[in-house]
Amino acid sequence: MSTPPSGHTDPRIALEAAKLGLWTFLATEVLLFGALFTAYTVFRVKYPALFQSEHLKLNRSLGTLNTIVLISSSLAVALGVDAIRRGKARLLEKYYAVTVLLGAVFLCVKYIEWTEEFHHGLYPGTNIFFSLYFMMTGVHGLHVILGMGVLSYVVVLSRRGRFSGSYHTPVEIAGLYWHFVDLVWIYLLPLLYLIG
């Protein structure tokens, strides 16, 4: 294979292109969750009493714990991006590793929650509320897994010495994506756990 034709030889344009690409991608993600939020709105207006009674069956303490875990992970990402902007690649790797770890903690807590709910006979097909709950947290959970993969890949690239104070586009892009995943949870928590 010959050298691939590059659409952009200018690194400044490459950075701009990557950022525009990611914001466009986040727009698609908003629409993806938008459909779920729309369904939530439709059914909550239709069955307010059901949502009121069913949401009490969720474990609020674990939900709160997970919120703290995810917000901390966002802080770690922000610190990591700040580190590489100052050219400190080793520090970036540590912060991003912490983020991946916190993501894993989040998933473990979610696993405990789901197991508990299954134990109480609450399944995706139980009723509309639990359909929404499992689909929304499930799709969000998939995004957490994807985000962990992306961040881990950034750490691997960083260990190979790819990033510096002057070039770290993938670090920023991955960080932005993680913040988005975090933000979705910030909406899911009150909508699912804190209705009453």
Binding site: P4, P5, H8, A27, L32, A35, L36, G125
Partner: protein, 537 residues
């Protein structure tokens, strides 16, 4: 930019390398475009064979050749394959991939790796779709619940396949948006962009915004079948009409994903073969964005008989009429471009003119269906089938054929046999109108769509439609035989056989891998025909 005619194509340009690896791993947007073209055309043929089988069955009022269930499967596969595997990706991912970077003076798209990934995600998608044939779908291409949640067909598998195809569509749209924003050649301002680019830009926005919604919808449908999720199941308090809302929130805008790139091709072909600057450049450009925007507000007009509130029906009906405005703006500007032009009737122009004629019929029958009172009468009759095929086949597919004939010399470096191309065109034109114009009448008389059997009083119209479909099939077969002959032994194409002014023609045929020896500097719009110094807009 100097308007030099491209050099004659002596080398093989981007086609120099051979072997499957040079295709499977390529990052060249032109090769990826060609792979999309071959793939989508294969599905066009498969979908077409299903259509011919349906027409064959409809020769007689009673089911004759296969069972009702088989008939249901065939019309589902005809619709699903034509829509998801041919008409949505063919122009954007095929011709768009090839020509967007060339039109804007770039060496490639913004993200060549994502571009290749989008093709392989698409390939994974159609493999899953093929896998679903073990228990083929019988729901129609619209997958309406609650039937789709209950049928024994492999709905979950097919949903996954279409989810993957949607992902590929999102990646392509995202890539094009960034490419058009960031990689335009020096001097290529927004108002010097070829109109094909404006059409593709509007298309990409729709792909990026609408596709995620249908992705989730198919995911929920699959989960309903696998886990018993309750969204669309009335027995558990779910709402089947919600499925229709979600489905059409994507599937209405997506008809503009199908038509806008075709309109872009027409806007390129008409000025070249009229030797005149395009009339109303900005009006055509912005009408593409207007169509994309309005397209998001009218999905409810597919659901007038589904039990929405009368108020919602009235609002959707009212908004639907607005789509006619930017559409008519385009048609009138094309006609104004033709006015007093030095028109020649090469095969791309024949298809472009056919587009205008057929699309006008398809477009004007739209308001019949957008108006509430007539829609209640015409809903789910052959009138809808005729309207849809006039816009989508008479529109998009004719635009696609125009693009294939127009760009064939550029893509392959070979010329087509023009005489055979015109014979094929005549057969397609006659066959299409005989098949589908008749369906308007069948529909007004009250024959419902999607039935394997019908009342004997509709037989004459059905026989005419079936005869027409055979003529159409022969025409398309001749056209593609001509393409194959052109590929095998067509004479070498010069760089600019049509004396066109847009950038893709200012480079050899076939283009070199980097598209341009040097990135061109643009000083004028691409439609300065008929004057040595065209107006710079």
């Amino acid at each position: 930019m100097e308007r030099v005619a491209g050099e004659s194509g002596n080398g093989r340009g981007y086609l120099e390398e051979r072997g499957w690896r040079s295709w499977a791993y390529t990052l060249d947007h032109k090769r990826i475009g060609v792979m999309y073209l071959y793939t989508t055309i294969v599905f066009f043929f498969i979908g077409g064979i299903f259509a011919l089988l349906l027409r064959l069955e409809l020769l007689s009022p009673q089911a004759k050749y296969f069972s009702d269930h088989t008939y249901n499967v065939f019309f589902t596969l005809h619709g699903a394959m034509m829509i998801f595997l041919f008409i949505i990706p063919a122009i954007p991912s095929g011709l768009g991939n090839f020509f967007i970077p060339m039109h804007i003076g770039a060496r490639d798209v913004a993200f060549p790796r994502i571009n290749l990934a989008s093709y392989w995600v698409f390939a994974a998608g159609f493999l899953v779709v093929i896998a679903s044939l073990v228990s083929p779908m019988d729901t129609g291409w619209t997958f309406y619940t609650p039937y789709s949640a209950k049928t024994g067909a492999a709905v979950a598998t097919l949903s996954l396949g279409i989810f993957l195809i949607g992902m590929s569509s999102i990646l392509t749209g995202l890539n094009f948006i960034v490419t058009i924003h960031k990689l335009r050649a020096p001097g290529m301002t927004w108002h010097r962009l070829p109109l094909f680019i404006w059409g593709m830009y509007a298309t990409s926005i729709i792909q990026v915004v609408a596709t995620p919604v249908v992705g989730v919808t198919f995911l929920l449908l699959a989960m309903e079948r696998l886990l018993g999720v309750a969204f669309f199941d009335p027995a558990k308090g779910g709402d089947p009409v919600l499925f229709q809302h979600f489905f059409w929130f994507y599937s209405h805008p997506v008809v503009y994903v199908m038509i806008l790139p075709a309109m872009g091709i027409i806007s390129e072909v008409i000025p070249v073969f009229s030797r005149k600057p395009i009339f109303g450049y900005k009006a055509i450009a912005y009408s593409s964005l207007a169509i994309a925007f309005l397209g998001f507000l009218v999905w409810g007009h597919h659901m007038f008989t589904s039990g929405m509130s009368p108020l919602a029906n009235e609002i959707f009906s009212f908004l639907t009429f607005f789509v006619a405005v930017p559409t008519a703006v385009k048609v009138f500007n094309w006609i104004a471009t033709l006015y007093k032009g030095s028109i020649t009737f090469e095969s791309p122009m024949l298809y472009a003119l056919t587009f205008i004629f057929l699309f006008a019929v398809g477009g004007l029958t739209g308001p019949f269906l957008g108006a509430l009172a007539t829609d209640v009468q015409l809903h789910d009759t052959y009138f809808v089938v005729a309207h849809f095929h006039y816009t989508m086949m008479g529109g998009t597919v004719m635009g696609f054929f125009a693009g294939l004939h127009y760009w064939f010399p550029k893509m392959t470096g070979k010329m087509l046999n023009e005489r055979i191309a015109r014979i094929a065109w005549a057969l397609v034109f006659i066959g299409f109108n005989v098949t589908f114009f008749t369906m308007f009448i069948t529909g007004v008389k009250g024959m419902p769509r999607r039935y394997a059997e019908y009342l004997p009083r509709f037989q004459v119209e059905n026989v005419i439609s079936t005869v027409g479909s055979a003529i159409l099939a022969v025409g398309i077969a001749v056209m593609f035989w001509n393409f194959l002959q052109g590929l095998r032994k067509g004479p070498a194409a010069p760089g600019n056989p049509w004396r066109a002014l847009s950038l893709e023609w200012q480079t050899p045929s076939p283009p070199i891998t980097e598209n341009f020896p040097e990135i061109p500097v643009v000083t004028d719009w691409p439609y300065a025909y008929g004057k040595p110094e065209g107006p710079a807009t």
